[in-house]
Amino acid sequence: MAYLARRALNGIFLLFGVSLLTFLLVDLAPGEFFDEMRSNPRISAATIAGLRSEYGLDLPLPVKYFRWLRSATKGEGGFSFAYNSPAAPILLRRAQNTLLLTGTATLAAWLIAIPFGVWAAAKPGRWPDALAAGAIATLLAIPELILALLLLLLAVRSSFFPVGGAVSLNFAQMNVWSRLGDSTRHLFLPALCLLAGLLPMLLSHVRSAMKEALDSPFITAARAHGIPFQRLLFRHALAAAANPLISLFGFSLGILLSSSLVVEGIFAWPGLGQLLIEAILQRDFYLVVDSVVLATVFLICGNFLADLLLYTADPRIRTE
């Protein structure tokens, strides 16, 4: 229990650090939201100064930080200049979409990587192993950007898949089943693109972790006791290979979040990544900070989940 409490405390400290650093860096970046107005001759300098003080942009940085912190604890997360509304509701809608996309991709990637990787490791040097090695090399060699563009081309040509967005325009008028179908069709290509980026990494890790586990002496010993291969594979080797894979699960979330930035941009998927890029371009100060902090929260939650899994999976961590 102390272990988990320590991990949770770590996460909270990390969150503070990330928010502080993001605040500093965004503040250091040149330009701000109202700069565009300055070039407009019809808006006087006094009006802009008035707007800046109204939105609190003229305050010193520490004061801004503490005001944001207070607002974040109330669940608002500051104010978006571009949307002219509190940041939280915008973020939440976007976060749902990002979670849907990355969650689907992660789930699918693991569901493919584990059985395929185990199968390849169980037959070293034979065709499943060669197939896995080939798939890993091919997928690694294709840049995500090119793949995303190719898939987009497919969407345009086939007209079966939509070219952007999370739902169709007439989504509100659909019944449950056509809503489900519509969401799935919108989700398919971006999720496939993320999956293709993640899969080679997971597959090669599953394969090598399993191979290493199968080489360990207790597997030989268990074989000597006449324990069948199936049980060796799943009860002994997979359990032994689980630790690095669970840690990798935490990592994979982080990688997915950053690659979803690109994919969301190309497929016009209304998620956090797209929001972040827009917010940076518009210098929408609090929205940038909030997006980064929210992504960090996802990452920390993912790693905490991995720790929790590790804790239940490995008796050695519990006795420590």
Partner: protein, 258 residues
Amino acid sequence: MLEALHVSKRYTQGRAYWSKKFLVAALHDVSLKIESCSTLALVGESGAGKSTLGRCLALLEEPDSGEIWFDGKNLLTLQPGDLRTARRRIQFVFQDAAAAINPRFSAFEAIEEPLLIQGGLSRRERREQALDTMERVGLSPGSAHRPMLEFSGGERQRLALARALVLKPRLLILDEALSGLDPETKERLILLLLNLQACFALSYIFITHDLRIAARVADRIAVMQDGAIVESGSAATVLSEPQHTYTRALLDAIPGER
């Protein structure tokens, strides 16, 4: 009971497709025989082929040629199903007990697992047999649910022994099973092994480089050098009237004797 005839085993070196293949002879035309309820010690230096022979006899490795007869059946030509049954009768105990048992298992799980595979036993029967075996090797059943890693070196070797014994084998191959333990623990385990031999009518193949242990436990001794048996006979004969120069050299190498 077990008889090996003309067993040979070679290992290939140079795994890459383009590299030249070297064949290293690990066993060369080895024949040996062991009667039931007796102990054979396989002695020799590291690299003499003792372990390879042991692993071949336990079917952990397949010899390139030769025959291994066990209870009237040639193990190398058995169907997979019969092979698994035969395998239960021949059990192997490794030198490093810590590495030979899944570190995630508790003592009880480790001992129960072979029974689980055997099938046909109820939960209660398995439990009884596992706890009974634990007691037989001198482990308190009270510690059954402690994780494997909490046991000491000697206790782990007892645990490994229990795991091998729980299927009621007829032959136990102990590959340097007592090496690396302190003299007291070693002595206690030797007494335990002799005691178990009487209880279960077990045969042992003792693989060791330590002639003193061989002298202590073996009825017969086979001396190996460079993948072949150079001398074999009753323990008393081999130790008192060694014929081969290599055996004499081994005997001279024992510290504190002669």
